[in-house]
Amino acid sequence: MENRIENTDETAPVPLQKGTLDANAESSSRTSGNSSRTASLGRFREAALAAIFIAPALLLFGIFLFYPLIQSVYLSLHSTNPRGQVANFVGLANFRNLFNSPGFPNSLMVTLKFILLTVPASLAFALAFAAVCRSRIRGMKIFRFVFALPIAVSVSTGSIMWMVLFHPTLGTLNYFLGKMGIAPVQWLTDPNMALLSISLMTVWMNIGFLFILLLGGMQSIPEEIYESAKIDGSGPVRTFWRLTLPLVSPTLFFASVTSVIGAFQAFGQINILTKGGPVNSTNVLVFKLYEDAFVNFRFGIGSAQALVLFAIVLVITVLQFVVAERKVHYQ
């Protein structure tokens, strides 16, 4: 008799512990009074352990992401003195100033143009390169490394590499144009060209990461699907449109979201190559934010811009999820 009781006591924790792997198995805890006490003790210890495991990340998020968000709201409602200290409450004046002055709407437009110039092109190139490198043709390993290379280039290194290419008289780009009989282009000093030049350099830089991401997505497609497509006589172009593209669409979707958000965050190449000029033609959001907050020490108006940036990114993320949830093909 006692044996049997001990037995049940010993076996009781097993389904419970199984339950740790299956969060919904809660009913098993109500077997007997004794085991429910050990179970609640076990559960308390589990929760305490979870708290310890989550605490470091949560604490860091709290201090460096959530608190700043709240602090930004506070700062955006205040004006600051030239030393960057909060001076007085101004309500929504910072936001009103933003939208009434020409600088901020211009920044929004420039950022929008920058996104349109960089994101589709980066994705298209990365997709094409990944599609070619997916195939098991000999020598593709070298191309794989080459196409991934720009991920190793930081924005400052990349900017200076391109600064040399863009140089109006000594740069190789104008030299090649000259050979083709085209007049030299003022890459970074012509207001109509500067954003295009920055975008060109940005696309080149984006390709590395996007290529790696999309290649990974394509490699997770089972080889048998390709084999059977080949047997059915599907050519490479048809296979790409009908097979690769739909199956890689979740990755492509993720890549497009991160690219758009990344484009909103562009700063380094602009700070190094054009400083927002000429005539504000490359003055993107984050560069303007940087200038207002850290060059002119107007933290209030800087925070107002940061919040507008946050709102835009939030809306885009949600929109992209809603739209893509319906169109993307998940396996």
Binding site: F64, I160, M161, G216
Partner: protein, 274 residues
Amino acid sequence: MTSIRLSRTLAYLLSTIAAIFILFPFWITLSNALMTEAESAAYPPKLWPTGLHLDNFSGVLASIPIVRFITNSFVVSSAITIGCLITSCMAAYAFAFLRFPAKKIIFALFLSTMMIPWEVAVIPNYLTVRSWGWLDTYAGLTIPFLATAFGVFLMRQFFLQLPKELMEAARIDGCGHIRMFLRLAVPLSMPGLATLGVYSFLNHWNMYLWPLLVTSSEKMRTVQIGVSMLQFSEMTAWNLVMAGLVLVLLPSLIMLALGLGRLVGGLTAGALKG
């Protein structure tokens, strides 16, 4: 058969053209780094150096503290990477295997951090770090980055893919969570750790805005800020600037060559299933 050969030739041809475009800026950088000053400033621009002028490298090392910059970046990136791996693994284990109240809400909270662009937090963070006296210190450069939601999701994904039977067997054998975490989950997720490690290292090695804001002295400057200062200094000789760039590029290129296999597939897994 001919159509296969044709498409194969076409693939090679297009890849080669694309590769030339990708490689061209690298080539200009490398060749300029090996030129004499007169060559690099010549018109028409030269595409090949006449010889290997390796003294450019010693020249750039003598004129700017590039070794110090590289060391700083190395310390900062390594500290962030190690910290990130630890915080990510711990939180990921809790989300994957532990039961605790408000799990879904906390998970959503973690998810929401991915929607806060870091630039939005940059002003308050600058003020925080300044008020703590962390400007121009390693603490200011590293501590704000020690946790990322991306890392948590990537590691959680790897943990959830571990064979369930193995974890259950360990539980039945009386293995506690801490031992399971240290002896099973983490060692079995080495591919995930490697992916996150390479990604985090490259990302923070390339950090620009934050180090620009929080470092002011030359001895704390990271390599990215040091590099962008090259163009403003009196030394505008391109061959030296380019030699500096080559030195800066080298560590990331080596890292990429070693870790590319890990990155392909690994990043996609973390991105999609989180």
